[in-house]
């Protein structure tokens, strides 16, 4: 597992009788923009929580940048950023944005001056600098998202974990975030992202993994996944043609690939007929 930025081996997490994550073997190479997809309840959040140290695995092993997470948790945490975590953003509502970023910087080991300077830069970049006295609790959802992301990168992490970073963020902010994330990739960082907005994942991510009912059902580059699905479709029964591209010769979109892999179309006719 040595050359991987993120690697898991037999990663499993059970909650009583429920196996939320079942024997997952992930491998994310350094510098990849990696999309981690799955339907609701598939095990994405549980996996990401284990990867950033919020949840202990029932079984299996996690290596980040070649270090065992369980044995070197402090060293690993210095290298990663995880501002947006599955259980809501890790924000402190009764601080101002600047105070929060300052706090985050010092929690990651930056000295006072560096933390303050980077906090000012990040506030400016995220367009959060115009209300310096506003408390985080009074920020809009989109502003909180941007602040959480700023806190996640203030120490210059080598790996960034993001859970639904574009959810509730306006188009302008979304553009800002994408620019920032792509520049991080260009500088050699690795980004591990979960999102339900498949168009964004398709545009940003070079590699993907799909988890379904706790098990990893696909992993590879977008082209590899597409080729796999198309090969399966070619060998499949005629009724599966419903999922074929609308125009022959066009590439399958990520949404089509995703639906092929996890299944998921259901007829909505005659359901909830009382809705006006």
């Amino acid at each position: 597992m040595n050359s991987a930025a993120i690697a898991t081996q037999g990663l499993t997490r059970r909650f009583g009788a429920l196996t939320a994550v079942d024997d997952v073997n992930l491998r994310v190479a350094p510098g990849q923009f990696f999309g981690f997809l799955g339907p609701n309840g598939a095990g994405k959040s549980t996996t990401i929580k284990m990867l950033i140290g919020l949840l202990a695995p029932t079984a299996g092993r996690i290596e980040i940048l070649g270090l065992d997470l369980a044995a070197n948790s402090l060293e690993v945490k210095r290298q990663i950023g995880a501002g947006e975590v599955p259980e809501g953003m890790a924000l402190f509502g009764r601080l101002t944005g600047a105070e929060y970023l300052n706090f985050a910087g010092r929690m990651y080991g930056l000295d006072r001056e560096t933390a303050a300077n980077r906090a000012a830069e990040l506030l400016d970049f995220m367009q959060l600098a115009d209300q310096p006295k506003k408390l985080v609790t009074d920020y809009s959802h989109g502003m909180q998202k941007k602040l959480a992301l700023a806190a996640a990168v203030i120490h210059g992490p080598k790996i960034l974990f993001l859970d639904e970073p574009f959810e509730g963020v306006d188009a302008i902010a979304s553009g800002t975030l994408k620019v920032m994330l792509q520049s991080m990739i260009a500088r050699g960082a690795t980004i591990f992202l979960t999102s339900h907005v498949l168009e964004i994942v398709e545009r940003l991510c070079s590699h993907l993994a799909i988890i379904h009912r706790g098990r990893l059902v696909a992993q590879g580059s977008l082209e590899e996944l597409r080729a796999g699905v198309e090969a399966q479709a070619a060998a499949a029964l005629p009724e599966d043609c419903a999922h074929a591209p609308a125009v022959p010769g066009e590439k399958l979109t990520l949404e089509e690939i995703f639906l092929r892999i996890v299944g998921g179309s259901r007829p909505v006719d005659q359901e909830l007929s009382w809705l006006s």
Binding site: L54, K77, I80, R94, F103, R112, A119
Partner: protein, 555 residues
């Protein structure tokens, strides 16, 4: 297709809220922690039940005694303590009081009357209302036993007293919450309080000069205040019952009318707040803060202290900033001085006293204030992470040891307690007289012992039994039942031990002996504290999932 043709009724909405609360309770029993909470709740309820039933019997007996002797107007002596308990207990004992959050209800098609009713009814489901209602029932029973024909009058008068108290408690809560929510109103309130306490320095000499001859005992005190107290709700209720006992039914009815006017006036003030809440008022600091000019592009460097790691200093700074922005928490911090002030006003039952409670032992004001200051820190010390919300996750994702975070919080709470000691010392000096050096040293060394005991148990409970609290909303700083129960036990042992030691030293005129004993205890307690702190990392990681789940859950 079904149509929404009928607006939901108040009764259905009240029932729906009751069902939700019941379902939340049932769901909470699924976890071990939830079941422990229930057990603690049962013990706390049993304690309150004992107080309630004891008070009921006492108030019944007292009411029977005064009415059977034809002194129904003396019912005021029973009704006044009930009134004070009803209004002060929720403020003084915040650990036992919870403010029901109804803001989420605003999204439903709720009429204003339903909203107001839900706020009043469910907001009143707290110990002070329950106990006081029981005691009023005792008064009514006593009156009925002494004079059955008087019962209907007593029942109406006491029901009105209950209504006035419920409305008044809600009104005080909602207005104090409003004033404490924003820095500007908080500062105005703080200045008023400061002036009030300082003015006591002037009133004190006057009271001691005229007090001895004016009211050396309770009876003379009561004689003096009786005419004034008749104009206020408890006295008005007693007057109405007394008038009915004398056969002056018109006067009795008129007096009950005055009580009704009190209720209506209080409701009017409460209504102002409830309407503002119903219309979605925002009590955040944002408007006030937005006005102040912040310098864009410049971020001030965080705090630093020699020899303290940056992460610990950062958490310490965060704790202090949270406290400075929490009106309710700042309010509770002035309560020890407020308590001394209440003691100063309370008449002494002893002929030896100088006219007030503690009058003969005014050097005990500082130890009592200090013990109370320690008690009110319980909500913070025993629920270290309660106010973090989802932010708690940062302690587990950042490269920082949990014990460093806990140490920073302990440092912050110790600093607050030190400031409290200064405040209490000044308050005791102004309201009574400057405590003697021996008493001051004994008290401080007692605190030096009690602090590590509380921090140690508090750290363990903060991890094993956390509860999400809201620093910004009055009455939502309550820890879990398990924590309240356990901390109460610790306080009884620690404060009890300290009180016995101090009293023993005092009675032998050797207060310095108590100081030495406390310092020995303190040395042992600090050793235990550091041992527990060193081993807390493993425990914190073992509990991180419950900790995060509790603090990130929706309210």
């Amino acid at each position: 297709m079904a149509e929404l043709t009928v607006a939901p009724g108040v009764r259905e909405q009240l029932a729906a809220v009751a069902r939700v609360r019941w379902q939340l309770f049932v769901n909470s029993l699924r976890t071990l922690r939830g079941r422990m909470e229930l057990v603690s709740h049962i013990f706390i309820t049993l304690g309150f039940a004992a107080g309630g039933i004891g008070g009921l019997a006492a108030s019944c007996g007292a009411a029977y005694y005064v009415v059977s002797r034809g002194k129904a107007e003396w019912l005021a002596i029973i009704l006044w303590p009930i009134f004070f308990f009803w209004q002060l207990f929720p403020v003084v004992a915040t650990a036992f009081t919870e403010n029901f959050d109804t803001s989420n209800l605003l999204r439903f098609p709720l009429s204003y009357s339903s909203f107001a009713l839900i706020r009043i009814v469910y907001g009143s489901l707290e110990p002070a209302t329950m106990l006081s209602s029981l005691w009023l029932l005792g008064v009514a029973s006593g009156v009925a036993m002494a004079s059955p024909p008087l019962f209907p009058w007593a029942a109406i008068a006491l029901l009105l007293v209950a209504a006035v108290n419920i409305l008044l408690a809600r009104m005080i809560f909602s207005w104090v919450e409003r004033w404490l929510a924003q820095r500007r109103t908080r500062e105005i309130l703080g200045v008023f309080f400061l002036l009030f306490i300082i003015s006591f320095q002037l009133i004190g000499p006057l009271m001691s000069r005229y007090g001895r001859s004016a009211h050396p005992d309770l009876r003379q005190f009561a004689d003096r205040v009786l005419p004034i107290q008749r104009l206020l709700p408890p006295g008005t209720a007693a007057s109405a019952i007394a008038s009915a006992a004398d056969g002056d039914y018109a006067i009795a009815a008129g007096t009950l009318g005055i009580l009704g006017i009190y209720g209506a006036a209080i409701f009017w003030f409460l209504d102002l707040r409830l309407r503002a809440q119903f219309h979605g008022e925002n009590l955040s600091e944002a408007p006030a803060l937005a006005e102040s000019s912040g310098q864009r592009g410049i971020v001030r460097a965080g705090w630093s202290f020699p020899g303290i790691p940056g992460s610990v200093a950062a958490i310490f700074e965060k704790e202090m900033r949270y406290l400075s922005r929490s009106g309710p928490m700042l309010f509770t911090l002035i309560m020890p001085v407020f308590i001394l002030f209440i003691f100063r006003l309370t008449p002494s039952t002893s002929h030896r006293g100088s006219g007030s409670f503690l009058g003969g032992s005014s050097d005990m004001a500082f130890p009592i204030g200090a013990a109370y200051a320690l008690l009110i820190l319980t909500n913070m010390v025993y629920n270290n992470f309660g106010s973090e919300g989802a932010g708690v996750q940062m302690y587990f994702t950042a490269p920082v040891l949990i014990r460093s975070a806990i140490l920073a919080k302990n440092l912050a709470h110790s600093t607050i307690l030190a400031l409290e000691m200064v405040l209490v010392w000044i308050g005791a000096s102004l309201i009574y007289k400057p405590p003697a050096l021996g008493t001051t040293l004994a008290t401080l060394s007692g605190i030096l012992f009690a602090l590590p005991v509380n921090l140690t148990v508090g750290n363990l409970l903060s991890i094993s039994s956390p509860k999400k609290i809201d620093y910004g909303t009055f009455g939502r700083q309550r820890a879990s039942n398990t924590t309240v129960f356990a901390s109460f036990g610790v306080q009884i042992v620690v404060v009890g031990l300290a009180a016995v030691t101090l009293m023993a030293g005092r009675s032998f005129d050797r207060v310095w002996l108590a100081t030495i004993v406390f310092l020995v205890f303190a040395a042992v307690a600090w050793v235990v504290y550091s041992v527990v702190l060193k081993s807390i990392e493993h425990m914190a990681f073992g509990h991180r999932e419950e900790l995060i789940a509790e603090l990130t859950r929706a309210s």
